[in-house]
């Protein structure tokens, strides 16, 4: 009985950790995608100086 509770607890903890990691990935994607777009737009315009 005690082992079952421990297993359930460990499983819940593992799920929480996975969802937390997913949230971190989503949050970083939300901020980095627009930034990457802006940097790309800027880089495209600035390559002419190296030609």
């Amino acid at each position: 009985m005690a082992d079952d509770v421990r297993l359930q607890s460990a499983s819940a903890s593992s799920r929480a950790e996975n969802s937390s990691k997913l949230l971190v990935v989503l949050a970083w994607t939300f901020v980095l995608v627009p930034l990457a777009w802006g940097v790309t737009q800027t880089l495209v315009k600035s390559v002419a100086i190296f030609r």
Partner: protein, 489 residues
């Protein structure tokens, strides 16, 4: 009321299991939004043609012209705003950024980052909405009040709101954490500039006009949503929390204080004013390059660099500014803040002196390299200052102290361009050839950085008489403090 209580500091304390790596994206969302301010210049020309374009007949020929071509082709009407009038909007916003950061810093430390971020989002977005009404009615005072005053307050609140929270979440790498957020302020313009141009093109095609009213309103909505992500995501660590496995150094630098200094006492210390001068000279010198980058590149290399290429070069400097904010502040976690500023104030003057040489030997590569390095250090100076303040004054009121020190930025915002234009006029009046007109300015900027070097060398630990009597700062003190919550590092 439920929403207002959600904004309380108590409601934003992280629960067990909260991943601290969620906090930097929340901070970035705020800084990427308010970083739009540096792209305000894309509106300068369109805002000076509002009346002229509205008086044109909406013929197919005119509608076929793209928004930018139309704005270029049409002469301003007598009732249109002038460029100096429009540039006041940005200047006012920067002045209110510094003022609000200084005035509201202590309030922010009291109420927590969530309420401050919410207030920032409201001010910044409603600044756009009021600005849109001002543009629609062609009332400059509404634009100044909306974007300049209200938006400026939003900028100041947004700029400092995540900084102290990040320092508390990352006591092991405070430079990197604040650099991540402040990097967003440098990067925000790179998103806002192309986005604003695209929106103006869209609203120009949709309605007859320049498209700025619709663009202002749309940006208000976009930034409100984006900043709300930061409001809902940000958390503060529980009191006494430290990352798992984090052990403060046994032999910390003498400059890293284990005690807190209140914002009212920080004012009275020489360290505060030394850092204030260091920020002032670093920003003034950076503005010296930023404000002249385009004409200087064309005058140094008249055949090689055209106006279009110079525009791209300025964009490249924005990337340097942004990346420097993250790289230098992260580097400061390893070599220390004082050493980082020593690099800025020794490498910087060398770069400034090399720029005129690059023009004489016709080396575009050397010119671009020097400007790039200078702009990384310009951004690095902004991003490393919060961690330097934390080292000297502790974490308790670092947000408020950071807010006060940003008055140096506002001062440099006025001093830098004034100095550059005065020296430029002096050189022109004395018949100095165009390619050599920048030399004196650059040498003066190098001299300013040497003043910063002296200030940095003079920085010593804060006198004990300024230490607050309450509990020392556990994030920098080697004491056993059982973490109340297990939170992944």
């Amino acid at each position: 009321m439920a929403l207002l209580s959600f904004l309380d500091r108590e409601r934003s304390i992280a629960k067990p299991g909260f991943n601290r790596w969620l906090v930097p994206p929340a901070a970035l969302a705020i800084h990427l939004s308010i970083g739009q301010a540096y792209a305000f210049s894309v509106f300068n020309k369109p805002l000076t043609k509002l009346m002229a374009v509205s008086q044109l007949a909406p013929t197919d020929t005119l509608r076929a012209l793209s928004q930018s071509k139309l704005v270029d082709a049409v002469a301003a009407a007598p009732t249109d705003w002038s460029i100096p009038e429009v540039t006041w909007v940005f200047s006012l916003a920067i002045v209110f950024l510094g003022l609000s950061a200084a005035v509201f810093g202590a309030w922010l430390d009291r109420v927590g980052p969530r309420k401050a971020m919410f207030a920032s989002a409201m001010c910044f977005s409603f600044g756009f909405f009021i600005g849109a009404v001002g543009v629609h009615l062609h009332q400059l005072w509404l634009l100044l009040l909306g974007y300049g005053v209200l938006g400026g307050i939003g900028l100041g609140l947004g700029y400092i709101s995540p900084v102290s929270t990040l320092i508390k979440w990352f006591p092991d790498k405070p430079g990197m954490a604040t650099g991540l957020a402040i990097m967003g302020f440098g990067g925000g313009a790179m998103i806002a500039a192309p986005l604003s141009v695209k929106l103006m093109g869209y609203f120009h095609a949709l309605h007859h006009g320049v498209g700025t009213t619709g663009t202002f309103a749309a940006l208000g909505v976009i930034y409100l949503i984006y900043m709300m992500f930061g409001v809902f995501t940000v958390r503060v660590p529980a009191p006494g929390w430290n990352p798992i496995g984090y052990v403060p150094s046994e032999h910390p630098s003498k400059l890293v204080s284990s005690y807190n200094v209140s914002v009212n006492d920080a004012w009275k210390t020489p360290q505060f004013w030394l850092l204030w001068i260091m920020l002032l000279v670093n920003v003034t010198a950076g503005i010296g390059i930023l404000s002249q980058a385009s004409p200087m590149s064309q005058d140094f290399f008249p055949v090689r660099i055209t106006a279009v290429i110079a525009g791209g070069f300025v964009g490249l400097l924005s990337i340097a500014n942004m990346s420097g904010r993250f790289l230098w502040s992260t580097f400061s976690d390893y070599i220390g803040r004082k050493a980082t500023y020593l690099v800025f104030f020794t490498l910087g003057p060398l770069m400034y002196v090399l720029i005129p040489l690059s023009g004489r030997i016709r080396s575009v590569s050397l010119f671009v390299f020097c400007c790039f390095v200078i702009l990384t250090m310009y951004g690095g100076g902004f991003a490393t200052i919060p961690a330097y303040l934390r080292d000297l004054f502790g974490t308790r009121q670092v947000g408020a102290i950071h807010g006060r020190i940003l008055t140096a930025w506002s001062t440099a915002g006025v001093l830098g361009p004034a100095l550059v234009s005065y020296i430029g006029k002096y050189q022109t009046d004395h018949g100095v050839p165009k390619a050599h007109q920048y030399d004196l300015t650059l040498y003066i900027m190098a001299g300013l950085l040497l003043i910063g070097l002296i200030c940095d060398l003079m920085v010593r630990p804060v006198n004990e008489k300024y230490h607050s009597p309450e509990i020392p700062d556990t994030s920098t003190m080697r004491v056993f403090t059982p973490a109340p919550e297990r939170t992944r590092g």
